[in-house]
């Protein structure tokens, strides 16, 4: 190898496209690995970034990061736009007053506790008053967020249903919005606190107001215009072009006007989703399909920029304080909020346990902080949030499971399909079906028919061995003609058994067999012992499609009613409390 060739492979100066390609691949692989460990993939991207970047191999150097600055702005815009798309006003309206009280309580308590722990601790550890205050504000705001994905995943996995489940859904759906708002306000205040411009308080407030409202106005205006354009551009390619164009313009104008990029992009998305809720769904889907590589690259760069060597002892202490404050705040806040909002016992006791998870929004906000604050604060925030995300993502889901289990809401949201998966043939078969002997007469059969509601009757011998089956369908042929009755016995009317099931067979398999062969029933038999293979097998029961369906439906309803009862009793309790209030 010649020195010039070697020179081209100088790790510090790899072509930027090569870096992008490498980051995408490694990020993708890292995400898969972390998903296996049930940790959000975002964490995987960042860890890969750490390994590739300054803390690790040094493959993605400072220069490369600098040259990807523009891309970073764009990625922030896309992220903001997608978050904005989640903020639908009708969702806020739907979850009435009770949830708003709980939401504000758990979010603000977590914010306050983290702020009150981090600020003095950071002050003591670093000796910098303003920087510590800013750090406290930013981390506090981030602490209020709860990750819906990991939390809701647990609820789905355990098929929960009931007041606690409803409350968790509502809170995690709403508190990203709360976190963003808190961050918007706290972040702006923090920025002024440590900013070089040491203006008066009024000036600071004015500046904050301009940054926030300017961004919102810019985004909203662009959203309104984009909506008009999208009406013309019906096909996906054109729509994507317009959306990306609008995003780039909004981002560019934000930079020029010095307003918040992510907030402006959020306003753009939020305007769009609330102007035309149904049609814009497609718009967001287009961007969503296009967004993954942007996210991957963005988060990998975030990781690459981090320097673990700079994660000093005081950061670890603050990370501990953050976890304690956030966990305590969520528990206490959820409890108090549930009390004030008059929520039921299950919600009061267990909601807090369900709100530990933290992921996308928290990390997103941390990243945002890293771009808009000096490296000192920015890195600390990212380090602390990333490290704690690891922890709470491992602890959070099991806590949700404990909460819903204790609240008794597990398994109440089962569907027919879930039941089918969990049952065997023995669970649903009729173990004592009406049977006939070979020589039972037509009259006896008709009598039995009018006394039972079955449509299928096994014919068995003295030892209960299955000889055949009689179905109503078959009997119909003999009903028309008089005089046949005295000529027919069960033997004449039975048909051979086409297929049968065994009691231990999974219900799913039995039902599949039935539909494949277009059977309305399946006799259940105990297989003949090996020493007498010539004998027909003994009858264990009968599975009729009609009865199985009824059984499944009844069980689903029973469980749903159990969940509804819990909700009902809560409503009644609420009503009684209200009554007491008014009579006082």
């Amino acid at each position: 190898m010649t020195p010039s060739l070697l020179g081209q492979f100088d790790l510090e100066h790899l072509p930027i496209l090569l870096i992008i390609g490498f980051a995408l691949f490694a990020g993708g692989l890292g995400a898969r690995l972390f998903q296996r460990l049930r940790i959000p993939q975002v964490v995987g991207y960042i860890v890969i970034g750490l390994l590739l970047g300054r803390s690790g191999a040094g493959l993605v150097g400072v220069e490369a990061i600098e040259s990807l600055r523009l891309f970073n702005f764009f990625a922030l815009g896309v992220i903001g736009f997608m978050i904005g798309g989640e903020l639908r006003l009708d969702v806020f309206r739907r979850y009435g007053k009770q949830f708003m009280i709980i939401l504000l309580s758990e979010g603000l308590t977590a914010f306050l506790l983290v702020f009150l722990l981090v600020w003095p601790l950071a002050w003591v550890l670093t000796g910098q008053w303003a920087m510590s205050l800013a750090l406290g504000l930013v981390l506090g705001a981030i602490a209020s967020a709860t990750a819906p994905a990991a939390t809701v995943d647990v609820l789905w996995e355990y098929k929960t249903r009931g007041p606690l489940t409803t409350a968790v859904f509502a809170i995690v759906a709403l508190d990203d919005g709360l976190a963003l708002m808190l961050y918007g306000i706290a972040g702006s205040i923090a920025k002024q606190l440590i900013g070089s411009d040491t203006g008066s308080l009024a000036e600071t407030m004015g500046r904050t107001a301009y940054e926030l409202f300017g961004a919102v106005v810019l985004g909203a205006l662009a959203g309104w215009l984009l909506n008009l354009l999208l009406r013309i551009a019906r096909d996906h390619d054109k729509a994507l072009t317009f959306i990306l164009g609008a995003l780039a313009i909004v981002i560019g104008l934000s930079i020029t006007a010095e307003v918040d990029i992510i907030l402006a992009a959020m306003a753009l998305g939020m305007t769009l989703v609330n102007l035309v809720p149904r049609r814009s769904r497609e718009t967001f889907q287009i961007v969503e399909r296009f967004a993954p590589p942007i996210y991957v690259l963005f988060f990998v760069i975030v990781g690459a920029r981090l320097s673990v060597h700079e994660m000093q002892t005081w950061m670890w202490v603050l990370a501990g304080a953050y976890v304690v404050g956030r966990t305590g705040g969520k528990m206490l806040g959820a409890y108090l909020g549930a009390r004030w909002g008059r929520a039921g016992q299950a919600v009061r006791q267990y909601l807090g346990l369900c709100l530990f998870s933290q992921a996308g929004v928290a990390i997103g906000l941390a990243i945002l902080a890293s771009t808009s604050f000096p490296a000192e604060i920015g890195n600390a925030v990212i380090m602390i949030v990333t490290a704690t995300t690891f922890l709470v993502q491992i602890v959070g889901p099991p806590c949700v499971k404990i909460a819903v289990t204790k609240a008794g809401e597990v398994g109440l949201n089962v569907t027919r399909e879930d039941l089918i998966e969990s049952y065997t043939v023995a669970d649903v078969m009729n173990a004592q079906p009406e049977c006939f002997a070979e020589d039972d007469t037509f009259e006896a059969i008709m009598l039995a028919l009018s006394n039972t509601d079955a449509t299928t009757y096994p014919v068995v011998d003295a030892e209960k061995r299955l000889l055949g089956v009689i179905t109503i369908q078959h009997l119909k042929a003999g009903l028309g003609s008089k005089g046949l009755g005295s000529l027919l016995v069960a033997y004449d009317l039975m048909e051979p058994v086409i297929d049968s099931a065994e009691p231990t067979m999974p219900l799913r398999e039995a039902l599949t067999r039935m539909s494949e062969q277009d059977l309305d029933f399946l006799p259940v038999v105990i297989p003949a012992p090996a020493e007498e293979p010539a004998h027909p097998p003994k009858l264990a029961g009968l599975m009729e499609r009609r009865r199985v369906e009824r059984r499944l439906t009844r069980e689903v309803i029973r469980r749903q009613e159990s969940a509804a009862d819990r909700e009902q009793s809560q409503l009644i309790r609420d009503a009684i409390l209200k009554q007491r209030e008014t009579t006082k």
């Binding site: 078959h474 042929a477 028309g480 003609s481 046949l484 005295s486 000529l487």
Partner: protein, 152 residues
């Protein structure tokens, strides 16, 4: 379902002067029918006898309709036995001796055809005039002609 399409002179046994046992009469009919359709005689006889053991097919008025469903049988088939002297041990609902025997065999899968064929047989021979005419017939061909005439 018409009975006539299953009536063939060579599948009709006429025994004007004999008074066989039930077993002998059934064997005679199974002989004829198994040969006509090319089915294993023993298997057919065993099925017919098993069916009779469950409940006698003598339905009264001198009429019996033994019937079986057989695996691997090509198509439904009928054999007719005329025994004017009567079969003494053929248990019948009205205790009358059985004089006319219609052996009906059908493939296992054709349940409806089977039942309708049974119904048609009972229907045709329910008519007393028809029964008398059949009992008075001299040749299998006459019997076949009578049964094919049916009611208009």
């Amino acid at each position: 379902m018409k009975l006539e399409s299953y009536i063939r002179p060579e599948q009709i046994v006429l025994s004007p002067n004999a008074s066989p046992t039930k077993q002998a009469a059934l064997e005679q009919l199974v002989d004829v029918l198994s040969r006509a359709v090319g089915y294993d005689r023993e298997a057919m006889l065993q099925a017919v006898v098993h069916r009779e053991s469950l409940m006698s097919t003598g339905i009264g008025q001198g009429l019996a309709v033994p019937h079986v469903r057989l695996e691997r049988l090509g198509a439904p088939a009928v054999a007719v036995g005329i025994f004017p002297e009567g079969i003494s041990d053929y248990i019948s609902l009205d205790k009358e001796p059985v004089r006319i025997v219609l052996l009906i065999a059908a493939p296992k899968g054709q349940h409806e055809t089977y039942i309708r064929l049974l119904a048609a047989a009972v229907d045709v021979l329910k008519d007393p005039e028809m029964r008398q005419a059949v009992l008075a017939a001299q040749t299998p061909a006459d019997v076949a002609a009578l049964l094919k005439e049916e009611r208009k």
